[in-house]
């Protein structure tokens, strides 16, 4: 159903509500429509991760918890079982911890990961909030995720947690700069900060998407995204071999679960943003003429399913990295961020600006 048609229908059903209440209800419903599938995706991403890495390491992965007793779906109940286990565990506050901050930290970690979804366009008109400064908003919110980690590390009153928090803070601040510069390239190429218009600017085929003219920026953005989410091979903030579990070593039960929710929601967010900014968001890689084919035309044309497919591809890359690469040493991480990524982004900004000024086809001839 078309989004505006759905709004119309809701208007009829909720006719009895006064208009400001209706507006708020509508927004809450939309938020629910984004957050609930996202939470489901996070839960099953943990299963996908364990399965994918399992197969990469010639293991089976989780296969004991079945789904309603159906044998062939072995492992499908695992995320639900995990969630129930974490929900029923006791929440332990360590001695000498700053109780309020200790309890608030997981929430602070999760909120930016969810709030950034407000501006992500799922389709031509499928966006919760179509704001002009969308790109800046996303950048600002992804930079807030570090607070959850720092506060958790400090409030835990534990040396391991504190070391993890310090590592994470330095790492995230470093990679944010390269990330921001990569986004400046996207801004120059698309002439807009609005995520929907950024996708529109890539209209055409696979080769008019921005990954080609902005290839180094795309790589740097995605790798910085892996570093920002504290995923392997950049997961020194929870490096098991040196500091047990890093910033969340003192957390049990739901606090621990919220940190994981935040990490996986951030992974999905980075994947979504990479596909929006470099891979044409909801656009189909097939030529537009195929979209008018009867029956399967909707599948071949532009649509949210392509967006989901691209997100899934980048999520797979996250898991692939984790199964493949050994953890970076701390000085290597810093060197990569400051001495490799930053100069490359600055050089490529000049290249992109030149391409835009010269109206190089097929990307910039229209503007």
């Amino acid at each position: 159903m078309h989004p505006s048609a759905a709004t119309e229908l809701l208007h009829h059903i909720l006719d009895f509500l006064p208009s400001p209440v209706f507006a708020v209800t509508l927004i809450l419903l939309k938020i629910g429509l984004i957050v609930l599938p996202l939470m489901g995706a996070v839960a099953y991403l943990t299963l996908v991760e364990r399965k994918v890495i399992g197969y990469m390491q010639v293991r089976l992965g989780p296969n004991r918890v079945t789904f309603f007793g159906i044998k062939i779906l072995g492992g499908f109940g695992q995320p639900i079982a995990d969630a129930l286990k974490l929900l029923t565990k006791e929440i332990i506050v360590p001695t000498g911890a700053s109780t309020f901050l200790f309890l608030v930290a997981p929430i602070v970690a999760l909120v930016p990961a969810l709030a950034a979804w407000a501006v992500v366009p799922f389709g031509g008109e499928l966006v919760l909030s179509n704001i002009n400064a969308g790109l800046l908003y996303v950048l600002a919110l992804t930079s807030l995720g570090v607070y959850g980690i720092i506060i958790a590390g400090w409030a835990s009153n534990s040396k391991y947690a504190f070391l993890g928090a310090m590592r994470s803070a330095a790492q995230i601040v470093s990679y944010e700069i390269a990330m921001g510069f990569a986004l400046v390239g996207v801004l120059i190429a698309s002439h807009s900060l609005n995520l929907g218009q950024i996708v529109e600017a890539q209209r055409g085929n696979v080769f008019t998407w921005f990954w080609l003219p902005l290839f180094p920026l795309f790589l740097i953005y995605f790798i910085s995204g892996v570093a920002e989410t504290n995923r392997a091979p950049f997961d020194v903030s929870e490096g098991e071999s040196e500091i047990v579990a890093g910033f969340h070593v003192e957390y049990a039960g739901m606090g621990f679960a919220l940190f994981f929710l935040a990490e996986y929601a951030n992974m999905i967010l980075i994947s979504a943003l990479t596909s929006v900014m470099f891979f044409g968001g909801w656009m189909s890689p097939l030529p537009a003429s195929l979209a008018i084919t009867p029956v399967i035309g909707t599948l071949l044309g532009d649509g949210i399913h392509w967006f989901v497919f691209k997100i899934f591809f980048f999520l797979f890359c996250f898991l692939w990295f984790r199964a493949t690469f050994p953890r970076y040493r701390y000085d290597q991480i810093m060197r990569l961020g400051w001495k490799v990524f930053l100069p490359i982004t600055i050089v490529w900004l000049v290249v992109v600006a030149t391409l835009v000024i010269l109206h190089v086809p097929p990307w910039f001839d229209a503007t």
Binding site: L101, L136, L144, D331
Partner: protein
């Protein structure tokens, strides 16, 4: 109406957080209250339709500056009791200075300078108004010279900061990444061929 409520909520939050920054005992808590204060003022700027400034405030101050601030404050072992010593002794002079400052501020930005009779209410911008684009245009045309001068000053500051902390002779034993990358298997592993030995 709703806008006014939102304004008062943010303003109250800002004043509360700002006063907590200077009254709480724990420096980490103070830094976190400063973060809250930044958020509240970003909210106020959003109400003024200055979305670029609001987001830049969150991005630069909350996202980067305060993280480094917390980084340093958490590592310091500040003894508040020592810092608070002599509070009573300096109270008379301090309160005198405070009253003087307050009077000066009141004189410069007092209520007589504001109000709808002095400055008429600005019209709300159209929905298509793009604050970022407008700001960028003004910054790179009308004010391009001051903007460039400011950037040069910032560049000088960056170079000075690096020059102050740079040690000419590197004392660390960190391996050189370039050398590490060029290492071949032959440099580290030696295959030894030998006949199988049979114990006596």
């Amino acid at each position: 109406m709703v806008q006014q409520l939102v304004f008062y909520a943010f303003a109250a939050g800002l004043i509360f957080a700002a006063s907590m920054v200077i009254t709480v005992r724990n420096p980490v808590h103070a830094a976190l209250f400063l973060v809250v204060a930044f958020f509240a003022s970003a909210g106020l700027w959003l109400l003024l339709e200055a979305e670029f400034l609001a987001i830049a405030l969150v991005l630069v101050y909350v996202g980067a500056v305060m993280v480094l601030f917390l980084f340093v404050v958490m590592m310091l072992d500040i003894n508040i009791a020592v810092l608070r010593e002599g509070f009573a002794r300096y109270l008379p002079i301090a309160s005198g200075v405070a009253v003087l400052m307050l009077a000066a501020i009141g004189y410069v930005v007092g209520h007589q300078h504001f109000g709808l009779n002095r400055i008429s209410q600005p019209e709300a911008a159209a929905a298509s108004y793009n604050n970022t684009a407008v700001l960028g245009r003004v910054l790179y045309t009308q004010y391009v010279l001051p903007f460039e001068v400011a950037s040069v000053i910032l560049l000088v500051a960056i170079i000075a900061a690096i020059a102050l902390t740079l040690r000419t002779t590197r004392q660390t034993r960190a391996p050189h990444p370039g050398h590490q990358v060029q290492v071949m298997r032959g440099d580290r592993v030696r295959l030894v061929k030998m006949a199988a030995e049979k114990p006596e």
